[in-house]
């Protein structure tokens, strides 16, 4: 492998809240890595402030949130709010996990471009990121 400085899509994969099940987040991170992205993984139990601060410091193009606790309508608006507070207003947002269909509209309004539920093909997530992340 020769050294390269070609621009890569940078993605932050984060798990807000208190649920500790990060298998899904790790599988998505790994799929994006295999798709050629540089993926920053921050681990479980992140507060909205921590996620927004990581997005700012790492200057990511994409933020993906994973949640299984059911607290998405509680936590996601706060993440979006914290991002905005820091002037991080141009990242592509997506989310995944246990998210009921009836919440789709609300999350879209909030700025989430895609919701990936259990059973999603990881290649669809990679494709989504490449199609929508601004380079």
């Amino acid at each position: 492998m020769t050294a390269t400085t070609a621009t890569k899509i940078r993605v932050l994969i984060a798990k807000p809240g208190l649920d500790g099940h990060d298998r899904g987040a790790k599988v998505v991170a790994r799929a994006l890595r295999d798709g050629g992205c540089e993926v920053i993984y921050t681990g479980i139990r992140q507060t909205p402030e921590m996620i927004a601060e990581a997005a700012l410091q790492e200057d990511v193009d994409v933020v993906g949130l994973s949640i299984l606790s059911g607290a998405h309508l509680e936590l996601f608006p706060r993440v979006v709010d914290e991002l905005r507070k820091r002037g991080v207003d141009d990242v592509l947002l997506f989310c995944g996990g246990i998210i009921p269909e009836e919440d789709t509209k609300q999350l879209q309004t909030l700025g989430f471009s895609a919701i990936f539920r259990p059973g999603t093909n990881t290649q669809d997530i990679v494709k989504f990121v490449y199609e929508h992340a601004k380079k």
Partner: protein, 311 residues
């Protein structure tokens, strides 16, 4: 150029993050930013943290940054993780071990992918570190990719290099070998709560006692980074080394040597680009084929290639 430089100089962290991306990707814009900000660099003490995979580099880097924060100092951190040689993708996971610093306004932490560079660093690490230096942090900590025996490049980027060792990872012959151990300014025995820490310390001491007379001997310190133990002593040892660099005149020499290395390596890249640009892919394939078929040796082929382009 936009207002990013102005915001950067006013201490805006988002401007810092944006500029780092452009510099990391070596875009023409990035080069402009570097040109504008480079004169502001050269004031920060740059510390390299290297050692094997799993030796506790991230945890130690986080704990050391925590110690500096207790002293009221500001810290920039660059942590490098490897890129896939097949897909060029990467998982950058060093933030996981630095959660305590996540919301500290006196800390800026940036993950970088190795992107195929040698030595456990990234291709544009020197430029990114210059940018962080120019931002005005009191310290910049660089954490390398897990390094084995031969990744010595960090010594050319950092002013003080800390090598993280662990008990139970080899006998004293390992430590006698040439390579990474020779570039350490400070030797840390991390996970010192594990058995064998004292044996490793005495092995390292014995090894250092064989060094030529007059050579500066690195300090050896025991730490248990996960509990934050030994960080005060480590910060002290780094300060002692910094003072030594300044008072001995070694600082100026080291800066000059690093600059020479950097300039030559960039020049090499420019020449290579020029060669590639002046050679068609078809000509290159034809030449390479002659080497593969053993009609021509690789040195003569390279001479032919470079000679044609640089006339």
């Amino acid at each position: 150029m936009d207002d990013l430089v102005e915001r950067f100089l006013a201490g805006d962290r988002r401007a810092l993050a944006r500029i780092i991306s452009r510099v990391e990707n070596a875009t023409p814009e990035g080069r402009e930013y570097l040109r504008a900000l480079f004169p502001h660099s050269g004031k920060t003490h740059i510390i390299g943290v290297t050692g094997g995979a799993g030796s506790g580099k991230s945890t130690l880097t986080g704990a050391l940054a925590g110690e500096y924060r207790r002293q009221g100092k500001t810290v920039g951190i660059v942590a490098v993780d490897p890129s896939s040689p097949f897909t060029q993708g990467a998982i950058l996971g060093d933030r996981i071990r630095m959660q305590d610093l996540a919301l500290d306004p006196g800390v800026y932490m940036r993950s970088m992918a190795g992107r195929g560079a040698l030595g456990g660093l990234a291709p544009t690490i020197d430029d990114v570190v210059s940018i962080m230096d120019a931002f005005g942090f009191d310290f910049v900590l660089i954490e390398t990719v897990g390094a084995g025996q031969d990744e010595v490049e960090i010594a050319g980027t950092a002013l003080t290099t800390v090598l993280v060792n662990n008990p139970g990872t080899g006998d004293d012959i390992q430590a006698m070998k040439a390579g990474i151990i020779e570039i350490a300014d400070i030797l840390v025995v991390n996970k010192a709560d594990h058995p064998g820490a004292d044996i490793l310390v005495s092995q390292l001491q014995a090894l250092l006692s064989l060094a030529p007379k007059g050579a500066r001997r690195p300090r050896i310190l025991k730490t248990t980074a996960i509990k934050g133990e030994g960080m005060e002593a480590l910060a002290e040892a780094i300060e002692e080394h910094r003072e030594y660099l300044e008072q001995s005149g070694e600082l100026g020499r080291q800066r000059e040597e690093d600059a020479r290395h950097q300039v030559l390596s960039i020049a090499r890249g420019i020449l290579l680009e020029r060669i590639r640009a002046s050679t068609s892919e078809a000509d290159l394939v034809a030449l390479v084929r002659r080497v593969a078929d053993r009609e021509l040796d690789p040195h003569s082929a390279a001479e032919e290639l470079a000679g044609g382009a640089l006339k």
